[in-house]
Amino acid sequence: MTLARSRALSFAWWTLPALLATSFVAAIAIGAVSLSPAQVLSALTGFGKAGLAADIVQAIRLPRALLAASVGAVLAICGAMLQGLFRNPLADPSLIGVTAGASFGASLAILLGAQVAAAFGSLPVVSIAAFGGGLIAVALVYQVAKGINGTSVATMLLMGIAVTAFSASLTGLMEYFADNEMLRRISLWRMGGLDAASYPRAFLMLAVLCGLLASMSRFGSALNVLLLGESQARHLGVDVERVKTLLIVLAAAGVGTSVAVAGSIAFVGLVVPHMVRLWVGPDHRQLLPLSAIAGATLLLISDTLARTVIAPVEIPVGLITALIGVPFFVSLLRNSRGAL
């Protein structure tokens, strides 16, 4: 590790967790009823007297903040994994077809299943359909890309584009036949939102996040070596086929679940890993955990803004992530051109 790199790294490891903690507390404190940080802390720890503040925190804001943080972290980890796997800093989770497949599943469910919705408990039919659609799309992409000589990354990218285009036209067809109210619901769903946050959803997402975090230590160095190309990775003792399959399954499950509970939130999976890479370099052993923290922070801040900027109206969070992330990303790009 070189001097400049290690300095950037330790700075990042100090700054990002602090930012995450701050934005988590802010997300809980800010809202229709403003709470002081002290009130937030006492409500979170369970000490102090029960009252309105504790109710607001525990029933409304805490599940939402947990969901925002875990969705952001999962999307960022999946993005970083896929960019490493495809050896392409432009790859994002939607490239393997999962987002478009999920959109199609959700549109179909909104169009056909509006009556039976909510019959499935806390995860309504739209979310289940979105998850199913995403997984089917990835399975299709993976089946075609898996040839006799192992999985071809180029075929997989092309197949991802094909499946995305196919699902997009099917979704378009759904929209064509939908009436005005359904059309509005479909397009709102596609912008992404955390307004349906609940403890079951938050815990589901946290469970997926824990799975990803646990796998990270195993895949960090394998992903580093994979950047040299598959044949070199094989010569360096990595079981390439197994790593590839596991990564695809993990990314599909992660993105699929997050799309199911929060709609498609663009930009986090593509740009957060990219920003962190520009900052601390491409070593996945650092990149994966730092991306997770940065993704969680970005989504917490975005969601807080989405709830409060023109309250009581909520803006879809997917629109905010790009609005606040892009200017930051562009300035980072301008400052470190050539160091991609």
Binding site: T2, R5, N224, V225, L236, G237, P282
Partner: protein
């Protein structure tokens, strides 16, 4: 026991035979150069020797075991391969790139770092340790990649004799670094490594190899020391171009010069 024993190696794709009936033995400390025109099957032969290509016929034994039967980690700790092209768009620093080579080993961070720095100083790339790989010139990148594959099998502590396969390592190096690189590889071989490399520069093959294998259309046309292989008749037949062979004024090794 020979370190690498290849017998009647044949590689076919659906339509074409790429390499046919190549037999080759190499021991630790030896350096074999593979020469031949473009498309003669040099890279395919290297891929067959390291177990990457499936053999249609023949066998490759590494320390008396079939090369395909070794576990990937076993193989990675005693066999390193440098391919012709090494695209890498991610901004690793020079030292981080070389350090990737220690993936199959469990020697610890301190020892790994020592090994990486030794390998880098052998190839004169220590000053690139802090630079970002994508910003380096082609020759600098090539030397870093060489340092990487050498660091992968740097020490004999765990595994004994090792094998290094290099596909055109001299390409894009300037003339001084070409000879420095050959000397470094030579010295590396003396430490218990068998080296097989493909080269286009016949002066490098003549000056530094123990044996030369001339490949033409996938077949062995000549195999032996520089004096046996690098004759005017052989080279004319191999490349289809008129050449004269003269002894090197200083070392006396055969030097192949184009006629016009």
């Amino acid at each position: 026991m020979t370190l690498l024993h290849a017998q009647q190696v044949t590689v076919r794709t659906d339509q074409r035979t790429l390499v046919q009936n190549i037999s080759l033995d190499i021991n630790a400390g030896e350096l074999v150069c593979v020469i031949g025109p473009n498309g003669a099957g040099k890279s395919t032969l290297l891929r067959a020797l390291c177990g990457e290509s499936r053999l249609a016929e023949g066998e490759v034994l590494f320390k008396n075991a079939h090369i395909e039967s070794l576990s990937s980690r076993d193989r990675a700790s005693q066999l390193a391969v440098l391919p012709q092209h090494n695209p890498l768009t991610f901004a690793f620093t020079g030292l981080e790139l070389v350090a990737l080579s220690r993936n199959p080993h469990a020697t610890g961070i301190v020892r790994d770092r020592e090994i990486c720095l030794e390998a880098m100083s052998a190839l004169d790339v220590t000053h690139l340790a802090e630079r970002l790989y994508p910003t380096l010139s082609g020759g600098e990148q090539q030397r870093l990649q060489l340092a990487r594959v050498m660091a992968q099998i740097w020490s004999a502590e765990e595994v004994g004799d090792r094998l290094l396969l290099l596909d055109e390592p001299a390409t894009s190096l300037d003339i001084a670094h070409q000879y420095e690189m050959m000397k470094a590889v030579r010295a590396f071989a003396k430490g218990g490594v068998a080296v097989i490399m493909t080269v286009h520069d016949l002066a490098l093959a003549s000056g530094y190899s123990d044996r030369i294998l001339a490949l033409k259309r996938g077949r062995s046309m000549a195999y032996g020391d520089a004096e046996t292989v690098l004759t005017a008749e052989n080279m004319q037949e191999l490349y289809g171009y008129g050449v004269t062979v003269v002894p090197h004024p200083v070392t006396g090794k055969p030097l192949v010069l184009a006629d016009e």
